[in-house]
Amino acid sequence: MTRPVERPAPAEDIQLTAERRRAARALLLTPLLRSEGPGADEFRLVRRHRAELERLFADGLGYRLVVEPSTARLFKTGLGRDATRPLLRRAGRSFTPRGYALLCLTIAALSRGKGQLLVDELVAQVRSAAVDAGVDVDLDAITDRRALYAALVALVDLGVLHERDGDLEHWAEQRTASLLDVRRERLALLVSATLGGVGDPADLLDAAALPSAIGGSRVAVRRALVESPVLSVDALTEEQAEWWRRNRNREREWFAERFGLDLELRAEGAVAIDPDGELTDVDFPGGGSARQLALLLVERLASALRPVARESAVAERVWRRADPELVATTAGEVLAEWGSGFKKEHREDPEVALADARAVLVGAGLVRVEAGGAWSVHAAGARYTVRASLAEPTADGQPSLFEEES
């Protein structure tokens, strides 16, 4: 009896895979993609590969993807109590709690209003929303006005509001008139968490960090790898750690194919590196004196901690404690040696420089600040140490800089 000939599966078109990868990366970097503006090309790709992308995000990361004619929205879940991803104003500073509150009130007011309105009308509605919410807002005082202006600008940048006419830029100081168009379909896509039934902010934060029941460990670990710089084994539950041990080699391929990220697997955890260096909002290592100082600090601290850490058991060496004195002396050394290249503020005030560098390192997931001012340095910090090597001649007499690691 002859068996039917089995044909091998047709090779996946390289072009299509590359397009899907590009679209997926764009969505991870900008969860709200628009048909106009800088992400227009990626948006078109998202629309083209919508079905596969929906499946990818739903099965792989447990995220819901909604693609509408002019907007694509990847609904990301929360990061738990991670405070390193604030909303940034145009100048680069983060939003204040007041700014966030006004942003929520503005969104609430817009959701009840018409498709086009003057700034003054919006202000009136925000006022009434503030009264309904029980939040004390004085929109005649300049601080609240600036906060509201920041919220409006954030909404313009998100593509929810569009300035049709008038002068919005000077509204906070000069109360200029301005006509705003409201994109209501995007307004409806802004909030990602289900807020109904949540009684407490703490509940919301914890619920957001919980992975959905479907997918369990796989989804939780993958989310941590995709969103955060460092995946640390001590942050995984038993079940997740078990799953990770069994599947991490396969995950390397999955990440490389779907997102173009290279996984670096180690005993203490993993990091996902983007070879192009693009898939991140903040670069580390990067330019600027805060990041330079951060790099030098972590390098020296990791070198100082390494001898003991190498010999410890796994559980002991994921995070290593650096005493406040060690931190202070190291910072002093670095500033003395390299400080002349830093920007003026950092040269003049070492405390500020240290605080900025610490913020960078905490944002990169490499350092935790303990009580009393001590730092805990993650094992991943050791990958930024500098290894001075002596060029020794190899067997055939040629000096080589490449040292084989035992």
């Binding site: 969860p31 969103e227 180690r266 330079q292 060496r317």
Partner: protein, 520 residues
């Protein structure tokens, strides 16, 4: 009634004065004014009488409104100034000075005042509620028209004027009801359809009712319309005769001798509006057809509304959620606020470290420790100066002068060879029968041959000629089809025989350009 002034957008003075009668209802003291006007229009008995300020004050006191007589007097004077009331001209004999002064001021209602106050009352009592279109009137109108249509000339002349007037009057009263109720219904509809705050249950309630109603309404209009139009057209020729007969009874004359206005319909001019409504005007559709169109538009707007409300429902509940969220933000500290932002909105970008440490060709086992494995390859510039830009001089430009020279020399040599080859062919003027050529010359000959044929474009017929001009040689190659003749070209590489073709070298015609010849 209008004059050139109103064409300019100006109200003539007379009309402005009339509009003054509306003022009292919009002032601060409107409640008092309205109460006063009510004393005049309240009962039928009040319509004919006149009252003094004291009496008015007394009447107001009965209702619980306490105003002193002087204020009442002021109010009444205001009303007189604006045409709502008039000072009564009735003379009553006074018994004393005081009585005389008192009696001087007696007030009575004007026609204008009565009209205005009637509308004010209607406005006050009006609720923004739905009012059904009086489609039941359609049947009555039809019956009335049919009956009038049955009367021909002699029948009209012998009909009872009162009965006729009654018939026409009823007809027009019904028509009036129909038109006003239609207008009312549609204004109500337009208000309701654009409301944003309709509750889902509210909407549910009247959505079905509205759709049903509109459907029925459209059906009824559609059913009666053609018949009404026909009946009206049948009556219209008799309208003037009908009105004349109906007006044949006793008529009221006003003070200046003109006939008083009668009920609507008894003047031929009134029939025009009914015509427009049911039959249509010169270029426009009948109003009834317009009503049907409005009903379709209303149904469409209803569906749009429904869609908006269905999606808006989610936004309603989101409103309260967002308010709660705003409250949480306002009370949180910085770190909690940032965490809340990430959790509630999920708009954060992903974040990754840079610079790989692994060598793809030699992957390390996952059980290795970071403390022991090689470091990431970070550019030295980042450690040293925190900058990623590469600075320095631009490199030297490459020098291609020599290569250029070589190419030019080579080209010159090629040119020389070609010229030599052309010269070699030109040595054989006239028909080329059987000739010897070098390889180069043969190649050039064939090139000219190809160019000639390509330039011609069509196959060579018996009398046709193809030509190609030798560039710079002053001669041209001609090709003709000549059955039986052969051209043979021998060269070191071999022998070429062109069968049935004659090639000839002919001097180029002075002043001719190759392109012109090729077309031929």
């Amino acid at each position: 009634m209008s004059d050139p002034g109103s064409a300019r957008g100006d109200l003539p003075h007379a009309e402005r004065v009339r509009l003054e009668a509306l003022r009292y209802a919009a002032r601060d003291e409107a409640p008092t004014y309205i109460a006063i006007m009510r004393t005049f229009t309240g009962e039928i008995a009040g319509l004919l009488s006149d009252q003094s300020p004291a009496e008015v004050a007394g009447r107001l006191a009965e209702q619980g409104i306490d105003i002193d007589t002087d204020t009442v007097d002021d109010r009444l004077s205001y009303l007189v100034e604006h045409g709502n009331l008039a000072r009564s001209p009735r003379e009553a004999e006074a018994r004393s000075l005081r009585e005389y002064l008192q009696n001087r001021a007696r007030y009575q209602l004007t026609q204008r005042g009565e009209l205005v106050h009637r509308f004010v009352e209607e406005l006050l009592g009006h609720t923004e509620s739905a009012r059904e279109v009086s489609t039941e009137m359609l049947g009555g109108i039809l019956a009335g028209l049919l009956e009038l249509g049955r009367l021909d000339g002699p029948a009209i002349a012998s009909a009872d004027p009162d009965a006729l007037a009654r018939g026409i009057g009823t007809l027009f009263a019904q028509f009036e009801r129909l038109v006003s109720s239609t207008r009312d219904f549609y204004t109500y509809l337009s208000q309701v359809l654009v409301r944003y705050d309709l509750d889902r249950s509210e909407f549910q309630l009247f959505k079905t009712a509205l759709l049903d109603y509109l459907q029925r309404f459209v059906d009824e209009i559609a059913r009666h319309m053609p018949q009404l139009a026909d009946a009206l057209l049948q009556v219209e020729p008799q309208v003037i005769a009908l009105c004349q007969r109906a007006n044949a009874g006793q008529r009221l004359l006003s003070v200046d001798g003109g006939a008083a206005r009668r009920a609507s319909g008894l003047d031929p001019a009134d029939w025009g509006s009914m015509h427009v409504w049911f039959v249509g005007g010169a270029e426009r559709d009948s109003d009834a057809a317009g009503v049907r169109r409005l009903a379709t538009d209303a149904m469409r707007a209803l569906l749009v509304n429904l869609r908006r409300i269905a999606t808006g429902r989610r936004e309603q509940s989101r409103y309260t959620d967002l308010l709660t969220l705003a409250g949480w933000f306002a009370e949180a500290d910085d770190d909690t606020a940032h965490a809340l932002w990430a959790s509630a909105f999920g708009l954060y970008p992903c974040r990754h470290l840079a610079f790989a440490a692994d060598d793809d060709g030699d992957p390390l086992p996952p059980t290795a420790s970071w403390w022991r494995t090689p470091s990431a390859e970070v550019p030295v510039a980042l450690r040293r100066s925190g900058a990623r830009t590469i600075r320095g001089r631009a490199g030297r430009r490459d020098d291609y002068g020599q290569a250029k020279q070589a190419r030019i020399a080579e080209r010159e040599r090629a040119e020389q060879r070609r010229a030599a080859a052309l010269a070699e062919i030109a040595v054989h003027p006239g028909r080329l029968g059987s000739i010897r050529l070098s390889d180069d010359a043969r190649a050039v000959l064939l090139d000219l041959y190809a160019r000639a044929l390509v330039g011609r474009g069509r196959p060579l017929g018996p009398d046709d000629t193809a030509e190609a001009s030798a560039d710079g040689g002053g001669w041209r190659l001609t090709i003709r089809r000549s059955p039986g003749a052969t051209t043979v070209v021998s060269s070191p590489a071999g022998r070429l025989e062109l069968v049935d073709l004659t090639l000839a070298v002919e001097p180029a015609e002075v002043g001719s350009s190759p392109t012109v010849r090729r077309i031929g």
